[in-house]
C-alpha cells in the first residue's frame, strides 16, 4: 500500500499544472524581454509584448502553464537569458 500511495502522489504531482512566472526587474530592457519570450516560447510579437507589459506594470506575468518538467526547462532557458523566472504550482490545485 505505501508504494501505491507514493506512486499516486507522484502521479498527482506530475499531473498538477505548473506556472512559469517572470518577475519584473528594472535592468532588463522591454525590447529584450519581448525578444526572449518570442525565442523561448515561440510567441507572436503581440503576445510576447502583452506578457512583457504585464511584467512591467504588474510586477509578474504567468508566461506559460503545463507539465512540471517542461516548466523547469523553460525556467532554465529564461535564466539563461538572465530573466528572473520561477515555477509555481497553479493555484486551485
Amino acid at each position: 500500500m505505501p508504494e501505491t500511495a507514493t506512486e499516486t502522489k507522484t502521479e498527482a504531482l506530475l499531473a498538477t499544472p505548473w506556472n512559469v512566472v517572470v518577475h519584473n526587474d528594472p535592468v532588463n530592457l522591454m525590447s529584450y524581454v519581448t525578444m526572449v519570450f518570442q525565442k523561448v516560447f515561440g510567441y507572436s510579437r503581440d503576445r510576447a509584448t502583452r506578457h512583457m507589459l504585464e511584467v512591467h506594470h504588474l510586477g509578474r506575468s504567468i508566461v506559460w502553464s503545463g507539465s512540471r518538467e517542461q516548466a523547469e526547462l523553460y525556467v532554465q532557458q529564461l535564466h539563461g537569458y538572465l530573466l528572473q523566472a520561477t515555477l509555481e504550482k497553479s493555484e486551485g490545485c
Partner: protein, 172 residues
C-alpha cells in the same frame, strides 16, 4: 559610434571614439562578480520558493554549472570580438562580428548591466531616468555606462529582429 548590419551576415561597429572603445573593453571585466555577492544572487536567482527544497538542491547541482558555462562562453565570445578593435591615436575604431555572435553580445551586455546595477545598488527610478549626470561621481558615471550598454543592446536587438524578419530588413 555606429552599429549596423553589415553584408547581411555581420554586425559592424564603426566610428568608435576612444571613450566608447574603453567602455566596450570594460564589458568582459564587468561580467566578473564575487562569490556570495548580491550580483551573484541576481545572476543566479532561485527557480522556485524555499518550499521546493529538492528542486533548489538539484538546480544548484546540475543547472547552475550549465548557466555558469553559458555566461562564461558569452563573455569569452565578446572578449575575442573586442580583440579585433585596435584603436589608433586620432582615428576612429571599427570592428565587425558575425551576426550569430549577436546573442552572446546581448547576454554579456546584460550580465555587465545587471552586475553593475547590483554592485552599486541602483534603484528602479535611477535606472529608468535618462537625465544627464548632475555630478561626476563614480556612481553617476557607472549609471551612464549602464545606459551606454543598454543603447548597444537596443541596437543589436533591432538588427537581430530584422535578421529574423527579412521583410523589415535594413540596407547594409
Amino acid at each position: 559610434m555606429l552599429i549596423r548590419k553589415w553584408k547581411k551576415k555581420a554586425i559592424e561597429f564603426s566610428r568608435i571614439e576612444q571613450i566608447e572603445a574603453e567602455l566596450l573593453k570594460q564589458v568582459p571585466p564587468c561580467c566578473e562578480m564575487d562569490e556570495g555577492s548580491g550580483a551573484e544572487s541576481r545572476i543566479f536567482p532561485p527557480p522556485a520558493d524555499a518550499a521546493e527544497a529538492e528542486l533548489l538542491r538539484d538546480w544548484e547541482e546540475y543547472v547552475r554549472p550549465e548557466l555558469r558555462h553559458l555566461f562564461r562562453s558569452a563573455k569569452e565570445t565578446v572578449e575575442a570580438d573586442l580583440d579585433l578593435l585596435k584603436m589608433k591615436v586620432g582615428r576612429l575604431g571599427r570592428f565587425v562580428v558575425p551576426l550569430e555572435h549577436g546573442e552572446s553580445w546581448l547576454n554579456a551586455l546584460n550580465q555587465a548591466r545587471l552586475i553593475l546595477a547590483a554592485k552599486f545598488e541602483f534603484s528602479e527610478s535611477e535606472l529608468s531616468a535618462f537625465d544627464l549626470p548632475r555630478t561626476f561621481s563614480q556612481r553617476e558615471l557607472v549609471l551612464q555606462q549602464i545606459n551606454f550598454y543598454a543603447a548597444i543592446q537596443e541596437r543589436i536587438i533591432e538588427i537581430l529582429n530584422t535578421a529574423d524578419n527579412p521583410k523589415g530588413s535594413e540596407e547594409d
